[in-house]
């Protein structure tokens, strides 16, 4: 805009008089001030935030400690050291506690071959307090990052890993299977991605641990992708009969198939009599 023939001062005056616009430097200064103040405020706020988190964290640990003492310590010991009735929880990590408590397996309803799934006994907030407390006492596997739980990995790689690592107990279609002495691998239909991940990471009940060297976090995400695919995709061939394979198919043909046929033969011969 500025014309080279006029002096800068004249030009400024002229512009001020003509348009009343601010100088470009003012804009830059304004931006600089804005940035500095935002940055400063941000820095200020984040420090307060972390201070808040620490406070919240210690609050959670406190709550968790109380919940633990009231609900878990009888078997796991007041210092998480374990008793004859239950194992030590030192080092099990947040993932393990979250899995056991959020699926209702803990607290145990009764002693038996294995802890069974039931409605969760605590609220999400209480569960968070519990696992924060246990994780605060000794480090262990943490809650998985939500980026691994989206089910957007490679389903066919996950399916192959599932067949090789999981199918011998959970059945190739995830329908579950029997173990020794009344123990069993549960069906995987409808299990949340987080719980699948935590189960692989911590090996609850009779399940082996699949740590990150054994199955990498990406591969765990692939397995979750496959199981999510099974959950979300309706059975292409019609009713799946519980995905139990030939046993349910055999029962079906004897009861419904042959049952229908025999009913028809009785009907046909009854008419002619």
């Amino acid at each position: 805009m500025a014309k080279p023939t006029k002096s800068p001062v004249d030009a400024r005056k002229a512009r001020k008089a003509k348009t009343g616009r601010r100088s470009p430097l003012a804009s830059i200064a304004l931006i600089a001030i804005g940035l500095v103040s935002t940055g400063g405020a941000y820095a200020l706020f984040t420090t307060t935030a972390s201070a808040d988190t620490t406070a919240a964290h210690s609050q959670l640990v406190d709550d968790g400690s109380k919940l633990f003492a009231a609900n878990c310590a009888t078997c796991h010991g007041l210092n998480l050291q374990g008793t004859t009735a239950g194992p030590s929880l030192l080092g099990v990590g947040a993932a393990s506690v979250e899995f056991q408590v959020a699926t209702g397996r803990m607290p145990l309803a009764q002693s038996g071959p294995q802890a069974e799934e039931k409605p969760a006994q605590f609220t999400t907030e209480q569960i968070k307090a519990l696992y924060t407390y246990v994780a605060a006492r000794a480090p262990g596997p943490g809650i998985p990052d939500s980026s691994l739980l989206q089910g957007d990995g490679d389903a066919s790689a996950g399916a192959e890993l599932f067949r090789i690592n999981c199918a011998m107990c959970h059945n190739v279609a995830g329908a579950g299977g029997a173990l020794t002495e009344g123990k069993f691998a549960p069906a995987l239909k409808g299990v949340s991605a987080q719980h699948i991940y935590e189960a692989m990471l911590t090996g609850p009940q009779n399940m082996p641990v699949f740590n990150n060297n054994n199955i990498s976090p990406e591969d765990k995400a692939n397995i979750i992708t496959y199981l999510k695919y099974l959950d979300d995709t309706p059975s292409v061939g019609g009713l799946d009969l519980g995905n139990l394979g030939p046993v349910s198919e055999g029962l079906f043909i004897w009861i419904f198939g042959l049952g229908a046929i025999v009913a028809i033969t009785v009907w046909l011969t009854a008419k002619s009599n």
Binding site: I164, V172, A173, V247, I253, A260
Partner: protein
């Protein structure tokens, strides 16, 4: 109502155009093939009406459905174990290496129009085929319809059953999916467990170490060529003997050992049978269209390392799997340098014995009873208590083995330990048949007594009458002659007498035979005779 009759009728009335054409066409064919004799012979074959006589038909019709759907599948199936990368529509297997057999089966399921329906029709029809054969055999057994002159047809029918099992197993193994591969591995283990020849046979069958690259194409040849050819031939003989021997019937007024009462093949039975074929086809298609069977896509391709929980064979091989599961542990022992796998050999022997006994049962029973007469009247099961009890024992034995094949699923679904299930079934395998035998025999004898009571004294009418002398009696309603006929017409057997042979000696075999015979017929209720009935009527009730 034969075809010849129809033709003479039509010439009497002025024939319509359609009838003239039928007549001319029939004449044309007859002049060139002389088929009218056969049609007359076969067309006059009479089929009695009873629902249980239609079970064999169900088997026949499912077999036709299997042939039709199987032919469709051969158009698209590649019986080859050449490894390839799957690039079809099913997402969770995309890019996975698998055999051409598995890949083509997935293509049939996902990428060929109507392919999945055809696969499911084929598999469900196969299950129904074997199930209806089983039920048909039970009907023949429990009515004694295998007695002279039908012993040979029983044996042929049993061979058909074994062929059906072989067909089923070879078909189950073709897709080369994880489940069928696991099944083949069990068979491989079973074969290798046989002493001396086992390993040789296994290497011969698989063309080297399991799984090799030949087994699918070999099983395919057996499945679509050799076994069906033998099956169809045996089926032809089975049906031919059925026609020659004529059909059995239940006793009734006018139904004797020397006649057959029912509808002739032409035209009544043929029309009914044709309709029934479509009903069976319809039931199979309905099931196949609504219920999944063998979802190989969830099983994935075969790879020797993964073994899925809940791996089972199709139901008809279940008894063999169950036998393997029921063997107590620790039955292996060393003989010099060789391991003797009694955990394999024992079930093979037991099942082999079971199969042979079922196969030759008609001959065993004929020897024990010494009965050389022809029988065309089907027994009511209660009127042959010992046979019915033997059948019940056999069914129990089979059922326990069958249940054992699903021991893991029984464990998980009823929340009991799998070891407890196995132990219970082990005990039941021995005790169950004995209990079933005793209980069934007593029930049969009880029912016979009740029949006898009813035939003699009629039903209690519930009407109480006071006699002039003050005595109260309940009036019994007598049966009609027709109803009584059904209750009283059966033959009574007595145990064989021991007779010395030509040399005047009683052989050991004779003693065994007499012993078995008295065990067979010791407990018996005589049929009611005419004099019995008269006497009971005279007694005032």
């Amino acid at each position: 109502m034969t075809t010849t009759d129809t033709r003479t009728e039509t010439t009497a009335v002025a024939p319509s155009r359609g009838a003239r054409f039928t007549g001319a066409a029939a004449n044309y064919i007859d002049e060139r093939t002389s088929i009218s004799g056969l049609v007359k012979e076969v067309g006059r074959k009479i089929f009695p009406d009873h629902w249980s006589f239609m079970l064999g038909e169900v088997a026949l019709y499912s077999f036709v459905v299997i042939l039709l759907s199987g032919t469709f599948l051969t158009f698209f199936f590649h019986a080859s174990m050449t490894p390839m990368e799957y690039q079809g529509s099913y997402l969770p297997l995309k890019g996975i290496e698998m055999s051409s057999a598995m890949s083509s089966t997935l293509d049939i399921s996902f990428d060929i129009r109507g392919g999945l329906l055809m696969r499911q029709v084929h598999h469900w029809a196969a299950l129904l085929f074997v199930a209806s054969i089983g039920l048909h055999m039970l009907r023949v057994f429990f009515t004694g319809a295998y007695r002279k002159p039908r012993e040979i047809n029983w044996a042929i029918g049993f061979v058909l059953f074994i062929l059906a099992l072989a067909e089923g197993f070879t078909g189950y193994s073709l897709p080369d999916d994880l489940l069928s591969g696991n099944g083949l591995r069990i068979i491989d283990g079973l074969i290798k467990g046989l002493p001396i020849v086992g390993t040789w046979i296994s290497y011969l069958l698989f063309g080297g170490e399991f799984p090799g690259t030949d087994i699918v194409s070999r099983l395919f040849t057996l499945h679509i060529l050799l076994l069906p050819a033998i099956l169809v031939a045996a089926l032809g003989v089975h049906l031919l003997l059925l026609i020659i021997n004529k059909h059995t019937q239940f006793a009734g007024p006018g139904k004797t050992n020397d006649n057959v009462v029912g509808s002739p093949i032409m035209p009544v039975f043929a029309a009914k049978a044709g309709g029934f074929f479509f009903i069976v086809f319809g039931v199979i298609t309905l099931i196949a269209a609504t219920v999944t069977i063998n979802p190989i896509w969830t099983y994935g391709p075969y790879d020797p390392s993964p073994v899925s929980a809940g791996t089972q064979p199709d139901w008809y091989i279940g008894f063999a799997d169950g036998a393997l599961r029921l063997v107590p542990s620790g039955w292996e022992f060393m003989l010099g340098n060789f391991t003797v796998s009694m955990n394999i050999i024992a079930p093979v022997l037991v099942l082999g014995l079971f199969i042979v006994v079922v196969l030759i049962y008609p001959f065993i029973e004929a020897w024990i009873t010494g009965d050389k007469r022809e029988h065309h009247i089907a027994d009511r099961p209660r009127n042959a208590p010992t046979r019915t009890a033997i059948g019940a024992a056999g069914v129990t034995f089979y059922a326990v083995l069958w249940a054992a094949a699903s021991s893991d699923l029984i464990g998980t679904h009823f929340h009991v330990g799998i070891e407890d299930v196995i132990r219970t079934l082990q005990v039941l395998l021995i005790l169950g048949p004995i209990i079933a035998f005793v209980v069934t025999k007593r029930i049969c004898l009880g029912l016979m007594k009740k029949d006898r009571e009813i035939a003699l004294h009629g039903f209690e009418s519930g009407r109480i009458v006071r006699l002039p002398g003050g005595e109260y009696i309940e009036v019994h309603e007598q049966l009609s002659e027709y109803e009584r006929w059904k209750l009283t017409s059966f033959t009574e057997y007595t145990p064989l007498m021991i007779r010395p042979n030509a040399k005047g000696k009683i052989s050991a075999a004779q003693r065994v035979r007499a012993g078995l015979s008295s065990w067979f017929f010791e407990d018996r209720i005589s049929p009611v005779s005419g004099t019995d009935i008269e006497r009971s009527h005279d007694s005032g009730h």
